[in-house]
């Protein structure tokens, strides 16, 4: 490239910069604004949701901790998210390996089958599970909830680990075999360690997806199996006070912690880069 062309490009970038800056600031305000509002409200000393908040107190955090359905919901959410993530990975990782490395007939059909829950409306999925499993087979509410969330997470498990498997050099496994490692040793010493960032990314993404899910959890709730988001939704329908804001702040803090850990473990680029490819 000629020097003058390079200079022209720099000049162009500089001219665009004020517009870009304004847009970026606006975007951040739109994203962060409501969050700031919720955080502020959570620390209010007053008893209604108003902005700016009236004084400062932690009373609504105490109220949230004393409210039974939230604690039960939190416990349910954590159990379901953890259980569904583990099962989805236990099923999804071997399936991914079979799809990518095996010599299966109709690989793309199998892959699409595993990815299909992502395009299926969750309400349809929930209704189907409700009718077939809960009503038809008499599976307990918590069992169906676990199955539903597992189905929800399977596409993530298959897609994200699949992406990191596609990026891995297939010659790695051949190299291990050539060096004298049998298929089992090769799997545990090479394949699995190479996939570890992908599996970690799928786990984080799956856990968060399950934890935040509302439609499926709402449809499949039985007595005592309301997840935290469902419990919050039900609370807001009847009362309008800062308790929900306080819970939201706790969730927000937890999300930040998870994000930081995920970033340290694998890096966001890998997590989100893995989904698109």
């Amino acid at each position: 490239m000629s020097q003058s062309a390079a200079r022209a490009r720099v000049r162009l970038a500089r001219e665009r910069r004020p517009v870009l800056t304004v847009l970026a600031v606006a975007a951040y305000l739109i994203m962060i604004g409501p969050v700031i509002f919720v955080v502020a409200v959570a620390f209010t000393a007053g008893s209604t949701i108003t902005f700016p908040p009236e004084g400062f107190s932690l009373r609504w955090f105490g109220a949230a901790a004393d409210y039974g359905p939230f604690l039960d919901g939190l416990w349910t959410s954590l159990l379901v998210a953890a259980g569904a993530t583990v099962i989805a990975l236990a099923v999804g990782v071997p399936a991914t390996l079979a799809i990518h490395r095996g010599r299966l007939p109709g690989r793309s059909v199998i892959q699409n089958l595993f990815l299909s829950p992502i395009v299926l409306p969750e309400l349809v999925l929930g209704l189907a599970l409700y009718q077939q499993l809960m009503v038809g087979l008499g599976v307990t509410a918590s069992g169906v909830l676990l199955v539903g969330h597992t189905l929800l997470l399977l596409p993530y498990a298959v897609r994200v680990t699949g992406a990191s498997l596609t990026l891995a050099d297939p010659a790695l496994e051949e190299a291990a075999r050539g060096l004298g490692a049998g298929p089992v040793t090769t799997f545990f010493r090479v394949t699995l360690p190479v996939l570890r960032p992908g599996i970690a990314a799928a786990a984080v993404l799956g856990f968060v997806t399950s934890f935040n899910n509302v439609p499926l959890s709402l449809l499949l709730q039985g007595s005592g199996t309301a997840t935290l988001p469902v419990a919050m939704l039900q609370y807001v329908q009847t009362s309008y006070d800062p308790v929900v804001a306080a819970v939201s702040v706790v969730l927000l803090a937890a999300s930040v912690v998870v994000a930081v850990i995920a970033e340290r473990l694998v890096g966001f680029n890998k997590i989100f880069g893995g989904i698109g490819s």
Partner: protein, 330 residues
């Protein structure tokens, strides 16, 4: 040399078909102990498939493969004791250099102390002993290549298999690593099979050169035997013979551009060679010489000449010395 009695690797009529495509077609090959054999050919000639069959990553659809005198045709790769260096190097990204090199020894159950000694020796051989704690991604391409080589050598393989080992390096490093490879092979004395599409690499490194064309052996032998006497037009083309013409009494022949002499038209026919009148249609200056394109009775002849006072459009005499003219089957 080719009788196969002292061969570490021997292929007997090995073929490999993929659906309707025959990638390797009845290849016979004997690799003598301690030698370096180069499988040479353009892409798609079956050289990599042949190497992968020797390693055990592909099964022949016909024929047999013997390693150390044992029938290895259907043996799994881990049971063959081969050391393969992949084109992509295939270093384990989650392991350090030392752990990569020691991998084959560890899975063989070699004692830790001995692994340490042998890893060190292998890294010493490739000149990387001070980088043993690094991860593969922290190394340059050339260093990764040496690690891959050390990893393959550390297991003391029956045969070292190199799949286009230098193709991912830049030109200068490639020449340097080529010499290095020759040294390492000589010092370690490991029987080696090298796959390459680079004839220079094969000529320089190989004791035995096997040129493959569409899955068949086109010609095999020592580079000094093959280079001056290509057996077919395919081999000649691949080795850089650019002129193909019919001479009276000799039929179809080939000659390298640097052996074609260009004389003034009025000169008499020289001794020990035939000549043809022609016109210079183009001259390309190349620094050490000029490539002269001649039109000889409608045929194009290339001549590399040091003399620079030739002009385009001049009538000249192209001389083909008998010593350098190679007859080909027509």
């Amino acid at each position: 040399m080719m009788d196969g009695s002292d061969a570490v690797v021997r292929l007997a009529a090995v073929s490999r078909r993929f659906g309707d495509v025959t990638a390797v077609d009845g290849v016979d090959l004997a690799v003598p102990a301690g030698s370096l054999t180069a499988l040479l050919g353009p892409s798609g000639c079956g050289k990599t498939t042949t190497l992968r069959m020797i390693a055990g990553y592909e099964r022949p659809t016909a024929g047999q493969i013997f390693i150390d005198g044992r029938d290895a045709t259907t043996l799994a790769p881990e049971k063959r004791n081969i050391g393969m260096v992949f084109q992509s190097y295939a270093l384990f990204p989650h392991l350090t250099v030392a752990k990569n090199v020691g991998f084959g020894l560890k899975v063989r159950g070699v004692a830790r102390e001995e692994i340490r000694t042998r890893v060190h020796a292998a890294l010493e051989l490739v000149g990387l002993s001070d980088l043993s704690g690094r991860r593969p991604r922290e190394l340059s391409g050339g260093q990764q290549q040496r690690v891959a080589l050390a990893r393959a050598i550390a297991i003391r393989p029956s045969v070292l298999l190199l799949d286009e080992p230098l193709s991912n390096l830049d030109a200068r490093l490639r020449v340097q690593m080529r010499a290095e490879l020759a040294r390492i092979q000589r010092e370690s004395g490991i029987t080696t099979i090298l796959v390459t599409h680079d004839q220079e690499e094969a000529l320089q490194l190989a004791d035995q050169m096997v040129i493959l064309d569409s899955g068949r052996v086109a010609q095999a032998g020592h580079p000094r035997e093959i280079f001056p006497a290509p057996a077919s037009r395919f081999v000649a083309t691949f080795l850089g013979y650019e002129n193909f013409l019919t001479l009276p009494g000799r039929g179809l022949v080939t000659i390298r551009p640097e052996h074609v002499e260009v004389l003034p038209e009025s000169d008499p026919d020289p001794d020990g060679g035939q000549s043809r009148p022609g016109t210079i249609s183009h001259i390309t200056y190349r620094g050490t010489d000029s490539l002269v394109t001649l039109d000889v009775a409608g045929e194009t002849v290339l001549a590399a000449v040091k003399d620079s006072d030739l002009r385009e459009g001049t009538r000249v005499r192209a001389v083909f010395p008998d010593d350098h003219v190679v007859s080909l089957p027509s």
